[in-house]
Symmetry: D3
Subunit: 201 residues, 6 copies
């Protein structure tokens, strides 16, 4: 994106570098800014969201994220986009965006979507082309393609860096696993079932 004509230091990602070294110096709390006088249309632009993602994976789905890492001009502006592709039967598994509400538009296909309220009630809806659905901030939600054709959705999130906590990955697949004793009590099953699920991640 934006090229930062910095002579004495360089900003790369969220680090402040020295030109004579590639060792990091200072980590920024947020994302870097650019002098408004130097911005161009390219600082607010991304290309290629018409290209399908690759759904040849165990989930049968793919997510392309257009957030502040991709369009630096989104910094501090509080919005981002995603394209989600689903193979037939493909799933975007239960996850939470800790910093954003999500609104989804179906471009192609048929999705069953849902979220679980803080009263532990499942809210579901079957969506077809042209349908819109809202997943409130901080709640677990998912989508599944329930037809035999591919499905495509566009989602918008009201943060330039919404984050995503995928429940399966976090609970069973973290780097350093959660102690088995915690999970057997949490899910009320024997250790061998927990270890079996952990082995898949």
């Amino acid at each position: 994106m934006a090229s930062y004509s910095v002579l004495l230091f360089r900003l790369t990602g969220r680090y402040l570098f020295s030109p004579s070294s590639t060792l990091f110096a200072v980590f920024l709390c947020g994302f870097p800014c650019k002098n408004p006088k130097n911005v161009t249309g390219d600082d607010f632009f991304f290309s290629g969201l018409d290209i399908p993602g690759n759904t040849s994976n165990t989930l049968g789905s793919s997510i392309i994220i257009v957030d502040v890492k991709v369009i630096l001009g989104l910094n501090l502006l509080g919005i981002s986009l995603e394209r989600i592709d689903f193979a037939p039967g493909g799933v975007n598994p239960p996850h939470i965006h800790p910093r954003a509400t999500e609104i989804l538009l179906v471009l192609e296909g048929t999705l069953l979507v849902g979220f679980i309220t803080s009263n532990n009630k499942l809210i579901v809806k079957v969506l077809v082309k042209g349908d819109v659905f809202v997943f409130p901030k901080g709640l677990i939600h998912f989508q599944i393609n329930i037809s035999v054709s591919v499905a495509i959705a566009i989602t918008a999130l009201n943060s330039e860096k919404p984050g995503s906590i995928v429940i399966g990955d976090s609970i069973f697949g973290s780097h350093l696993p959660i102690p088995v004793d915690v999970l057997t009590k949490a899910f009320n099953v024997d250790a061998d079932i927990i270890e079996k699920i952990q082995s898949k991640f």
Copy 2:
């Protein structure tokens, strides 16, 4: 949308009504809420964004807004969607969203888009299918279809009620016109030109 089973009062839009009268009683500062225990999928749902809007008008464009008035479940959640259709040459004229940044995705066609920075510099970009562009909060922006085919865009805004100040309508077409003396000085032209433009709104 959500049906409010209110026996003694009724909420209609943003008013609190009495059942024995249709005269308004109290105007709500924001939008009404619904008991989370009673929400269903329909409270978070809208259908029909795959249907083209009617662009047979002087601007050659059409906007369908999916905000909190349309999906009541968006209340307090800070996001909304729009579909914009453009006839060949169609224009979404210069406007401001006072409460939201906008991110736009081109679904079909070719658009020239732009915004004016607070340093009074025009930032422009030509967009084709699959391209994404950002219009920062509070800045004047526009889109024009520069091809001979129709164009379709989806936009997301980070407010459930982003508002829209269309510059032409506000400046030249307000109910009770702005005094001509203000506009002749503001635009540095004679009164007859101001009055000619006002007559078109």
Copy 3:
């Protein structure tokens, strides 16, 4: 707590009632307020956090919550407290507070505590009496009593209504279950394992 001397209407919880009926009328978006001129010390007070909770349950833990439902004077003030008791081996299972960061102080015993970052890394620490630990907003976290004695913790959360999404309950125990197809793909296991876990909730 606060008594609302309302003659024509009554506020009960978050509903506006009519005196001649117990049928609800209007649901409030937030919590009710009280005229500052009428507040007393009792509006800001709660008693009994020195009394242990009952940990005779499958998790071996108990949570007493002091939030805006308990102290109405907390309304709009953005803070709440909890007391958590742990039997030996007791677990506060993986959960998320969508609206609050949590800070925990160990009053008695030994806890292993942890959270999973959005980079999917487990951060853990063993805590003893007098130790303090922070669980950042929106991340999955847990505590387990790893000693043979009881443990007691006090936690503070920076919301008067922090909410709590218990992962096990939401994923496997929601009212209306999440479709099995979603969960088998999400956790990469056979349907019988999913159904076995669901049967425990």
Copy 4:
């Protein structure tokens, strides 16, 4: 204002400079801070708002802005002041503050003031000495001196950097002009009128 005794780097405006070069290095997202231990009264002070501005210009008005650029101690504090002078007939032309509501006090003279609501309705009022008026955030507003004497107003805005989008300058006078096709459709007039107005900026 505040002098920053920086030995190895220097902060100048919003850039982090190297002492051995005047070429910019890193652009700050916001404004610089100063160690609270080193602040003095001068960091919170500005002098000269009793001196009339020069209204010998086509608009017949002048604005002196006291924002964070002028008083660095305003950084992060969310308020600023302006003095506006009007020659007889002078105009502060239609503009928007994207980040602030404005409250205006007339010190001398007679002003006609107004703003346009998002429902496109003009709200106007004639003000004399001692009168106060509010211009809500994000709405187009203006003032005109309708008497034969000078007028003076003090305004306060609830941002230390409120910004100002002057409609005429943005629409007709941007660096790189807005394409004429956009403006002819937006204002429903012929290209020669648009070009005539553009030529004045």
Copy 5:
């Protein structure tokens, strides 16, 4: 200000009344709103800030507040104004605005103004006509007229209801006094001095 054409209920101040009774019903958390379609210029207007306040009191000062109680259109807009008059030697005694930063402009006279930082350091400045000074949110501050003429200041605060905690009134003059034991320890003096000061309030 705004007249509320409410037939079945009436809003008076922050209460929702019944027309058949003057007994209060429901207390609003914030201030009431008005349908934007019905607002007029009078909803955003106040008159009379050119009239000096009465400084014939022990402090020798007077404050006229233009906040949301006076201009209902300020509701939710986050700004207010004050006029402060000072007799020679008059004092605006040490106080805190819990919800606002204050910016002050001297219209007439000579003031010594100051605030105390959270590091307990006094920041002072002598101001004359045309000078501007900032009092950061939440810090104790004061003004004193150090000349033999009257002084006039205009202040703006970035809240429509900034609040004001006058230290002397709160500490020594509250309804139900603070226990003497607290104050003797807090100020390290004998009870008779505390009681002497309390007797003045």
Copy 6:
């Protein structure tokens, strides 16, 4: 806490240092961040809140603060803890937290606690072990041990840097004293009483 492996610069407290010099370079507006990939449990940890503070001072009280200076991982997370010890008769004198509401839990002993509303009304309550009380943001409050035994309280505040304005210290003990003329008028007493109190600080 966190060690910052910075080769070319060092972050110490809130300064950005050069390795070849201990002279300060740039003062950070907030607190430094750390790359999330490098955080460990120690970044979110503090030990020792079970150890009583030293109450051998004129107030008979002691406060241990666990804020962002102590746990750097609290940065931007909006919460902190305190332990307060009281000797018999000990006082935590009247003070204000400009950036936080406080919730207090009594672990041992008997406290009389109170705050003064912005209507200048004292709200008080006697608390014993297990009692909880709320002190709203920006209001003057205090605690006193009214028993013959020690008392211990844990408080939580909804800011990682809540600040504390101790009224006595600010009014009578600031570095550079508040002019006596201001205080004699503010407290309506003779200069010798003011000077006597000032001499104690």
